[in-house]
C-alpha cells in the first residue's frame, strides 16, 4: 500500500535537497505502511496528510538553506520564461477572440471600456484567472527541481508588479476593489496552476 501519491509529489516539489527530502519521505511512507496495518487505510491517509502539512515548512527551510546563486538564476529564468510564454499565449488568445468577435459582428473595443460594468468585470476576472492559473501551470512545468516554488515565485512577482503599478499610477482610475483583488488573484492563480500541474504529474509518474 503506497501513500497518497499527490501529497508525495507536492512534498517533492518544494525544492529540498534529496539528502534531506528522500529520508523524510521514506519515513513518512514507512509510518503510513505501519498505520495502515494498525489503524486502517483511512486513518493512515489522514495521518499522512497531517504529517505532510507539518513537514512542508521544514522542506521549504531546507530549500532556502541550500539556495545558491545558480539556483536563484535558474528560478529567475523559469519565472521570466513562464511569464513570456503565458503572455504570448494570452496575446494569441485575445487576438483570436477579437477576430472571432469581429466576425460575429461585435466590436472588440468594448473590452477597453472602464471597469465598471458588471459583465465586463466578470469577463476580465475570468480572463485574469485563466492566465494566472495557466502561468503557474507553465512555471511548474518548466521547473523540474522545485515546481511549486516556481509557481509561487511567479505569483509573487505578478502580485508585487501589480501593486507597484497601482502605486505608481495612483490607481489609474480603476476602482479600489480592483487594486485589492488583482494582487490576490495574481498571487493565488499561479499556485492553483502549479498544483494542477502536480496533479497531472502524480497521475502519471513522479518527479524523482
Amino acid at each position: 500500500m503506497r501513500p497518497p501519491r499527490f501529497a508525495e509529489v507536492l512534498l517533492e516539489s518544494l525544492g529540498a535537497e534529496s539528502s534531506f527530502r528522500e529520508p523524510l519521505l521514506g519515513d513518512l511512507a514507512e509510518g503510513f505502511a505501519l498505520r495502515v496495518e494498525r489503524d486502517g487505510v483511512g486513518a493512515a491517509r489522514r495521518w499522512y496528510y497531517r504529517e505532510s502539512v507539518r513537514a512542508t515548512p521544514h522542506l521549504l527551510g531546507d530549500w532556502r538553506r541550500s539556495l545558491r546563486a545558480p539556483d536563484i538564476r535558474y528560478l529567475a529564468g523559469v519565472v521570466l520564461s513562464s511569464y513570456v510564454l503565458t503572455m504570448t499565449l494570452v496575446f494569441l488568445a485575445v487576438e483570436l477572440a477579437g477576430g472571432a468577435a469581429s466576425a460575429l459582428g461585435f466590436s472588440p473595443r468594448v473590452l477597453a471600456a472602464p471597469l465598471d460594468a458588471a459583465p465586463l468585470v466578470a469577463l476580465w476576472l475570468l480572463i485574469g484567472t485563466t492566465y494566472t492559473v495557466m502561468g503557474g501551470y507553465i512555471a511548474a512545468w518548466l521547473d523540474r527541481r522545485a515546481p511549486l516554488v516556481s509557481a509561487v515565485a511567479l505569483g509573487l512577482t505578478w502580485s508585487c508588479s501589480a501593486l507597484a503599478i497601482g502605486g505608481l499610477t495612483r490607481g489609474n482610475g480603476a476602482r479600489a476593489w480592483y487594486w485589492v483583488c488583482a494582487p490576490v488573484l495574481l498571487a493565488v492563480g499561479p499556485i492553483v496552476g502549479g498544483v494542477l500541474r502536480l496533479r497531472t504529474v502524480a497521475r502519471t509518474s513522479g518527479l524523482r
Binding site: 501513500p3 523524510l24 521514506g26 511512507a29 507539518r54 527551510g61
Partner: protein
C-alpha cells in the same frame, strides 16, 4: 565548547540518538522523543534538528539500502560522534551544576 547543543530539542534528539544507538533513524528518533517529552513532534522538525546536529558534527549519518516498505527509499541512519559524546557529557555537567541546591527544601523537590 564550540560544538555544544543549543536548545532543548537539539539536546533531546541527541540523547535519543545516543539511547537508540547505531541504526536509529528519523521515525524511531521522533517516536522516542515524542514519547519521552509528551509532545508530538513532526518528522520534519526532527530532521531539521538532526541536520543541525550533523552540521555541528555531533552526529554522523549513513544511507541504508532502499527498502520496499519505504516506497523504495533509503533510511538515513544516525549515530553520535565523539564530539557528540563530549557535548552530552558537558550538557549533563552543566545541568547538574545549575540544578545543584534546588529542591532540597522547596516545592521543586523531586516527586516521591
Amino acid at each position: 565548547m564550540a560544538n555544544s547543543v543549543s536548545g532543548s530539542l537539539e539536546l533531546t534528539v541527541l540523547l535519543a540518538v545516543a539511547r537508540l544507538g547505531e541504526g536509529s533513524y528519523g521515525l524511531t528518533i521522533r517516536d522516542d522523543v515524542s514519547e519521552r517529552t509528551g509532545h508530538d513532534y513532526s518528522v520534519g522538525a526532527v530532521y531539521t534538528t538532526l541536520q543541525r546536529l550533523e552540521e555541528k558534527r555531533l552526529v554522523s549519518s549513513r544511507i541504508s539500502d532502499p527498502m520496499p516498505i519505504r516506497g523504495g527509499r533509503s533510511r538515513r541512519e544516525f549515530k553520535v560522534t565523539a564530539a557528540g559524546d563530549r557535548a552530552l557529557r558537558d550538557a549533563r555537567r552543566v545541568a547538574a551544576s545549575v540544578w545543584a541546591g534546588v529542591g532540597a527544601n522547596n516545592r521543586l523537590a523531586p516527586a516521591r
